[in-house]
């Protein structure tokens, strides 16, 4: 398959569906820092007008991917197309991208109001009123140096500033990590409203599957610097099954489905498999198939519950 086909044909789940406009497409995007590969051959699509979740364990390359898309870093190889062009130093490109780094970069000695005014001087579209309103509704003082605010308040200020830019693509790196559960829910609701209002695409990284499940319907999963999954969550769930059966040889099963993870006890075998297609029949009647949850899907690909003895079977990181 050509890169383009790989991107557009997002696995068997998209058969018969018209290609959806994409806010982001990458082809074999790779970033090395010296000998360390932070992101390896990453080919993904982020559909326009939706909230996509970027999931992966620490060090999987999530931040690297977001920084490459924002143009803060340059790829070692491969290409990214963001809002129809490659990330570049151009006011028009930058105006359409909102990026909030995990470290919540704000000038600690300046106040939120200073940041609002700076934004007004630095951006063609700037919704200062929305930030002031939001800070007022959260009781965050706009005239105190942001270094003196709590971590959660700082995150709220930074998020409001990122939204005030009115970007077409919003890249958020662990934006809710600093927020308490109520603020997190509140913020995700705000994001969902903004996307529903139109003209906005969000790519959101997080560890918190439950939060992402609530707002996003598209999933990109990275592990070990590689893309493990990229697709609509419903399609991905339909393509995976947990099979429980007797302890027996599974080579027949492996021929038609990909075994993502296998757990064996003396009496039974539990397999996490990717089917040959969504809802495809399980070829071995000895196994009982059950549907998977998003959490199970994510954990299976993170390989967190794989016993080391089965490393040869778990085959994490081999997307073929």
């Amino acid at each position: 398959m050509t890169p383009m086909e790989q991107v557009l044909g997002r696995g068997p789940g998209s058969h018969g569906r018209a290609p959806e406009p994409a806010a982001v497409q990458t082809y074999g995007l790779t970033k090395r820092y010296g000998k360390v590969i932070a992101l390896n051959d990453c080919t993904i699509t982020v559909p326009e007008g939706r909230i996509s979740a970027l999931i992966g364990p620490n060090g999987a390359g999530k931040t690297t991917l977001l920084r490459l898309l924002a143009g803060l870093a340059r790829p070692t190889a491969g290409e990214a197309v963001v809002n129809g062009g490659s990330p570049r130093q151009d006011p028009a490109f930058l105006a359409d991208i909102g990026f909030l780094a995990q470290e919540i970069p704000l000038y600690r000695r300046l106040t939120a109001e200073d940041h609002i005014q700076a934004g007004a001087h630095l951006n063609p579209r700037w919704d200062a009123a929305s930030v002031r309103e939001r800070l007022a509704s959260l009781n965050i003082p706009a005239n105190r140096a942001v270094g003196k605010l709590s971590g959660g308040q700082r995150a709220q200020v930074a998020l409001a500033l990122t939204l005030a830019k009115r970007p077409r693509l919003l890249l958020l790196d662990e934006p809710v990590a600093a927020l308490d559960p109520l603020a997190r829910r509140n913020f995700l609701g705000l994001l969902a409203d903004a996307v529903a209002a139109g003209g906005l695409t969000v790519l959101l990284s997080s560890h918190l599957v439950a939060d992402l499940e609530r707002v996003s319907d598209h999933l990109i999963m990275l592990a070990s610097s590689r893309v493990q999954l990229c697709g609509d969550i419903d399609d991905l769930l339909a393509e995976h099954r947990i099979l429980v059966g007797p302890r027996k040889d599974i080579t027949g099963l492996q021929r038609s489905h990909r075994v993502v993870q296998a757990t064996r006890t003396p009496r039974q075998t539990t397999l996490f498999v990717r089917l040959s297609g969504p809802g495809a029949p399980v070829v071995d009647p000895a196994f009982q198939a059950s549907e998977v949850s998003l959490e199970e899907l994510v954990l299976a690909y993170m390989g967190q519950d794989a016993p080391p003895a089965l490393a040869n079977v778990t085959a994490i990181g081999e997307e073929k």
Partner: protein
């Protein structure tokens, strides 16, 4: 961008302006006193008819004099406290990621920031130099030492170029190291090293020095504020003759450089004769110097060198920040 630069750095700018104002007040008040003292001394000389020199009199208070000399260090202050943190502090705090994700290219961000900082450095160097030059002018007229190392560096154009260089050095060090304290250390060391190298090794050779030979007994002083580079006496073949202190001198020549026939003259007056007179006739004094009328050429060349260094450092900074990942 200008708004943000001002908002970020206004405390530094105001502090710098306050320091300049305090220095200006001190210099103007004492400078007027120096000028009055000079005029009074000149008038006194006129009464005594034709005393050409006010007599090496040091004009102005020693405390202020010391302060004026210490403005040699003024340029490096802008490099240390404004230049070094300019990029490094933002890199340390991660705020480049805020600035660079607004709808402003890094190039513009850098251009505006560096532009204002260089302007501030030029004003800093220019105001200090103007004040010092004015304060020193009676001393210059009297002592004619403005071409000498240590004085040349205080006045006219060069302090402006030093300030620009220090600023650019601080910015570049901050961009390379991305940490404020190491950048400040490199700025301080680099500034001192480059200034010393240029002043000691390059400056004497901007133009080929003039060497004048003269009769030892008559002496020689070039006109105006010349810069003496070397002096001494040479023998008939141009070989230098050492001038030790513990040695009797005959007509300005150490006795051990002369034939034995000169020995009687070491103990008392008399006219050299015969071989002694012949030997003395072949020994000349020399003075290697940069004439006073080259002062402005030297100011211009030194200014040019430091402006080129400034441009190179800014180019390095721009290349680093525009090419490197944030």
């Amino acid at each position: 961008m200008t708004w943000l630069v001002w908002r970020q750095h206004r405390i530094q700018f105001l502090l710098g302006a306050a320091l300049l104002a305090a220095f200006a007040i001190l210099i103007v008040i004492t400078g007027v006193q120096v000028a009055n003292q000079y005029r009074a001394a000149q008038a006194a000389c006129a009464l005594h008819q034709g005393c050409l020199h006010v007599g090496g009199l040091f004009m102005g208070s020693h405390v202020v004099g010391f302060l004026v000399i210490s403005t040699l260090a003024a340029p490096v202050l802008v490099g240390l406290f404004w230049g070094a943190p300019l990029v490094a502090a933002e890199a340390e705090a991660g705020t480049t990621q805020f600035a660079w994700m607004q709808s402003v290219t890094r190039k513009r961000w850098l251009t505006v920031k560096i532009g204002w900082m260089l302007l501030a450095a030029a004003i800093w160097g220019g105001v200090i130099s103007a004040l010092v030059t004015w304060w020193q002018s009676p001393n210059n007229a009297e002592q004619l030492d403005q071409f000498n190392p240590g004085r040349f560096d205080l006045m006219y154009l060069v302090p402006v170029a030093y300030s620009l260089f220090a600023m650019a050095l601080g910015i570049a060090a901050g961009a390379v190291l991305r940490r404020v304290l190491p950048a400040m250390a490199v700025t301080l060391a680099g500034f001192i090293a480059v200034r010393a190298l240029v002043a000691l090794l390059l400056r004497p050779h901007y133009m080929t020095a003039v060497t004048a030979y003269y009769k030892v007994t008559s002496g020689f002083t070039p006109p105006g504020a010349f810069w003496q580079i070397a002096s001494g006496i040479v023998g008939p073949n141009g070989q230098p003759i050492p001038q030790p202190n513990n040695m009797p001198y005959i007509d300005g020549v150490p006795q051990n450089a002369l034939p034995a026939s000169c020995a009687p003259l070491a103990n008392g007056p008399g006219r050299p004769a015969g071989s002694c007179a012949q030997a003395l006739a072949h020994i000349r004094g020399f003075l290697t110097y940069q004439p006073a009328d080259r002062f402005w050429a030297f100011q211009g060349i030194e200014t040019g060198i430091f402006l080129l260094l400034t441009a190179a450092l800014i180019a390095v900074t721009a290349m680093l920040l525009l090419r490197r990942d944030a």
